[in-house]
Symmetry: D2
Subunit: 377 residues, 4 copies
Amino acid sequence: MTTNRTASTAQRTGVWFVGARGSVATTAVAGCAAVTAGLHPATGMVTETPPFAGTGLPPLSSLVFGGHDTASCPLPKRAEALTAAGVLPHGLPSALHAELAAADAEIRPGGPHPGDTRADDEIISAFAADITAFAQRTGVARTVVVNVSSTEAAPDPDDPRLPVSSLYAAAAVRAGCGYVNFTPSTGLRTPALTAAAAVAGLPHAGRDGKTGQTLLRSVLAPMFVQRALTVRAWSGTNLLGGGDGAALADPAAAAAKNAGKERVLADTLGAAPEGEVHIDDVPALGDWKTAWDHIAFDGFLGSRMILQTIWQGCDSALAAPLVLDLARLVARAHETGLTGPLPELGFYFKDPDGGPAALAEQFTELLSFADRLKETA
Amino acid sequence: MTTNRTASTAQRTGVWFVGARGSVATTAVAGCAAVTAGLHPATGMVTETPPFAGTGLPPLSSLVFGGHDTASCPLPKRAEALTAAGVLPHGLPSALHAELAAADAEIRPGGPHPGDTRADDEIISAFAADITAFAQRTGVARTVVVNVSSTEAAPDPDDPRLPVSSLYAAAAVRAGCGYVNFTPSTGLRTPALTAAAAVAGLPHAGRDGKTGQTLLRSVLAPMFVQRALTVRAWSGTNLLGGGDGAALADPAAAAAKNAGKERVLADTLGAAPEGEVHIDDVPALGDWKTAWDHIAFDGFLGSRMILQTIWQGCDSALAAPLVLDLARLVARAHETGLTGPLPELGFYFKDPDGGPAALAEQFTELLSFADRLKETA
Amino acid sequence: MTTNRTASTAQRTGVWFVGARGSVATTAVAGCAAVTAGLHPATGMVTETPPFAGTGLPPLSSLVFGGHDTASCPLPKRAEALTAAGVLPHGLPSALHAELAAADAEIRPGGPHPGDTRADDEIISAFAADITAFAQRTGVARTVVVNVSSTEAAPDPDDPRLPVSSLYAAAAVRAGCGYVNFTPSTGLRTPALTAAAAVAGLPHAGRDGKTGQTLLRSVLAPMFVQRALTVRAWSGTNLLGGGDGAALADPAAAAAKNAGKERVLADTLGAAPEGEVHIDDVPALGDWKTAWDHIAFDGFLGSRMILQTIWQGCDSALAAPLVLDLARLVARAHETGLTGPLPELGFYFKDPDGGPAALAEQFTELLSFADRLKETA
Amino acid sequence: MTTNRTASTAQRTGVWFVGARGSVATTAVAGCAAVTAGLHPATGMVTETPPFAGTGLPPLSSLVFGGHDTASCPLPKRAEALTAAGVLPHGLPSALHAELAAADAEIRPGGPHPGDTRADDEIISAFAADITAFAQRTGVARTVVVNVSSTEAAPDPDDPRLPVSSLYAAAAVRAGCGYVNFTPSTGLRTPALTAAAAVAGLPHAGRDGKTGQTLLRSVLAPMFVQRALTVRAWSGTNLLGGGDGAALADPAAAAAKNAGKERVLADTLGAAPEGEVHIDDVPALGDWKTAWDHIAFDGFLGSRMILQTIWQGCDSALAAPLVLDLARLVARAHETGLTGPLPELGFYFKDPDGGPAALAEQFTELLSFADRLKETA
């Protein structure tokens, strides 16, 4: 483990969560504090492994959290709920009450609410003003906006209004912030917004964090290709409860999610194989996700073989360290003057801004990126 | 697919199987003929994929098969049995009767039989004479000896005699042949034999073909490392029948096999995690193998997660195309003057002669090797 | 094994399949002939086990097959296709060509075809005439009509026309035949048709053969109840190709199928737990079905536990022996004067005509039924 | 739920655990108190379901706990450890501190210690004196001795001394107590001890609680038989940590355990199928057990099918409610004058004292037993 974790200078970095009271943001805030306090190792944080020593990433102790959310349950209470659900360890919320309360004090109401009559531009300005006020109040050197809110439905191409996720992304650009989209929602992925980020000289990364089933697919699909085995069908079912399960019970949101899941197979295998992906809302499972994959493939002389995988993980615990990684990497990219999409961060995403689809190659790209950061450190 | 498959010159290459009447050798002989005849695609043969075009590998149609075996069942009959077992497609043995019979005519009795009083050197010479006679009779430019016989027990360090697999390996060296050890047996892995191969200027590759559970482990273990997730326990059970199942029901043979399986985890994860590996002989499964793996890992803040994999494959159908790959690659290495161990072929082995442990890196090495062969082609 | 299999008298029994060229019917015809000829044991046929000795069931050798189908591919050719798909053993279709051809000669075109302008009653009469002509031509003592055709969409309650499956069921009644509905389609399950069967004094059994996932559920769900463990969620995914996979890719047909699957849980557990059931068409799997079930249950003091099952079976091979069982049992019930629904056959169905939901209790009922048949034998 | 749970009279019943500081006993003591206090439902306790209302079982609130153990860690501390391991809910040990401390005060040192030179009879007397003193001190009407200690190695038939588990069983008989053996150890299963229990007029039940893999086998194996499907191989692997994992890492102890596991298959299927059972000590899993079963079976016409099950449960949470059930049932049997082995309790055991092997039939027997108890209530 490196010493990035300890702040070596007075400079601080803001992390502004869209969905700041969700499970992922709550786990990220609690986890950052827990690792900083030495209560837990930095398991799952790639930026705390040796290759990232000397890259000049903002230390964990320098991160200051805030964000938007439409929910009002305070973070310390959310953390207690996550403890009851088995996501956070017992005792952690009380041990970190100060840090959770501090972050909670920097959360502003999200929107727009149903019936909101403001024009998009007005809403964007209000969001940007919240972010700018946070930066001034906390004195951070720069802020990264990270979308960890619930997946929104795939946008209707005939709807003239921007999707909500894009209102927040536009606010990030307007406030001069780097941007990370950890969800499958649109965010900055519109020609106009991507162009605006480029003009503003802002780095950004997305889309849709790769935490479980797709992570596995991004290492297994290349294996079949490298071994010249023919994948005939790849089927999958995800069971999950929690807020994510409920959000993805909406077929339109599930469709947005599945597009990313299927991209890795099509990109790696050359064409999408047979098979569907289901996402079932199973409230009894809470924040724990089970993903079953069934892969039918052909071997030599047409022999029919099967691989099945069963992944049982806690989505928030898988996502939170990656979210912290990304906030640090994009903040550092911003500091070094990198702008536009960062395909070198494809390691983290189901639907990346270019780059290879296989995890091993994405990891190589990420290490090269770390090396480049070292040169400017 | 490349055109390597069609012989472009009159030059032919010998492939001498130790265990020539086993399932793997029978499938390799039948499969080579089937692909050459255009009856089946070259699924599972990496050397038939585009990166290997122009590498000067001996075409499949140029391969001439022979070998040693202690069993006497003729290859066409073995092929019929494999068809009944679902390994080879129906109709194939009769369609390829001529090719199977031709290979069968080049199989010589293996040994030593119980009670054989000959000294090791005498046995080696007899084996070498068989190989040399084969080469002269068939007029091949060179021959690669490939060990695909049953796993032998891990050798007793106090036993002064060479393991049988090493007698065959020594014969390969004496006959001036490249050598491939697709099994966990000792083969050329003794200091004296490795030195002899170096002196004789012969290339060789081994050990223990990576066809199923270990193949998976070599892609999954790096994923945990790259994502900074802590593997706590990795347990596995293999169920298989056929000759391999019976051979591995011997605990000493199973121990030899498991050493290779565990090496990939220790090499990749830094230390061997908790967990055992079982190999059960289940005659009802015939040549089909089921491997269940259970991986307990820790995520962020100590969250406990599980990945399970179930692999159902036909071992002979997985092994045969790799065996053909290796025979061609070592023959070509021999032709180009490469000598000694070929760590670039670690992609194929559980217990390779050095090189990286992760499949993705091994594949990169293999592609570099292909590029080097192209330069000399 | 009993001696029911050998015809002890000259009396013969007709089995008229609706869907006579489908996989299930083809496997049933081929399997009946194979067992009669002593080529295969009667694996999967409950009526050939010792408790059924002396029940007076029509011997397998006495069964005469015919049926309706809209497809025209002859049975011997269908059997060859099933052999290529791994459902029937190699060599069987040629060994049984005569029996398959004989059954094929008794297959009549099904209907109605699109654009058919005949009234329902006209169609019913035509079907009934086909069945009656078959009985006269073959001289069978009685005939059982067995629906093994593709699942039809759940009927629209506002549609005044009978579903096609009910046209066939009505024809069975009109022709004076016992009736078995092995599919989830409506068949005889309308008040009018059930009443008609009662008036005609005909026995019938249904609905929806229990061959895989639901079979498992009917033994596992009672276990949770008996052990006072609380099932919180029961989720399932089915992957299958073949005709059944394609038919069930229609959401309306899948809905009809799933209703039966869920009934066993609701009936056994007292209320339907959380969880969905998916049926995916995966053509690569052919007639082989994989069903994954994930059961989340609570133990003592709220401990959360999981059971998962993976069932890999061949649906036609599972269904065919049960279809032969049912044809024999209903024929014998008819002979002994039993009329109306036979809840004692709930052992065979997902959505039975009453009786217990747990397999063990259903088996006890079936054995009592066998005892009753013995008394009249 | 019945009202058995509330003590309706002043009469109290003793439960004396051999292994009183183990996970199962600790969970049973804590769970009994938690259910009595209304903190948790009686999930997993069959005796709290409606069929047991009116059977006169001692109410949960009337149970008084004590026992022997060689360990010295106090029960409240053991309960805290089980909470950290995820077996007991957070907060429960502190809420139930009084009840845990009360039971702890009634625990006496077990034995014999290594080097103990006392004769068997002397040890038995000392144990019996402990139990008698407990009964007098607490004023219980009667006491049931329940063996929940670690599995001991299968006894050497040439060893003249009694296994330790039998010393405790003999003490139970000498102290006039009913006896339950929830482990695979010998306990009362010697001709002399069984005879002594009969002479003393004491009821007893055993052996080896059926909590997970074998429970599943006892419902699945009958399914194959009832459906006339031929099981060819049944293989299993168990992964578990905790004390039980460590104890079963001893091959002799594992052999004792596996004998029971295999009995249910042999009894149900008529003969033991191919396949092995492994029990691996995986400390990382703590008290959570994963059991994978792989069942290869033949269907109609020799089709090869597979069922796999994965059971993830907490052994202590599965065992504890059954242990409470058994203590109550044997106490009530004692009260009503029943003596000798109670095959009606085979529902609870892998290796029962006779009776059917299928869970459904065992449940029927248990319900009949409940009815008999009602008659005398």
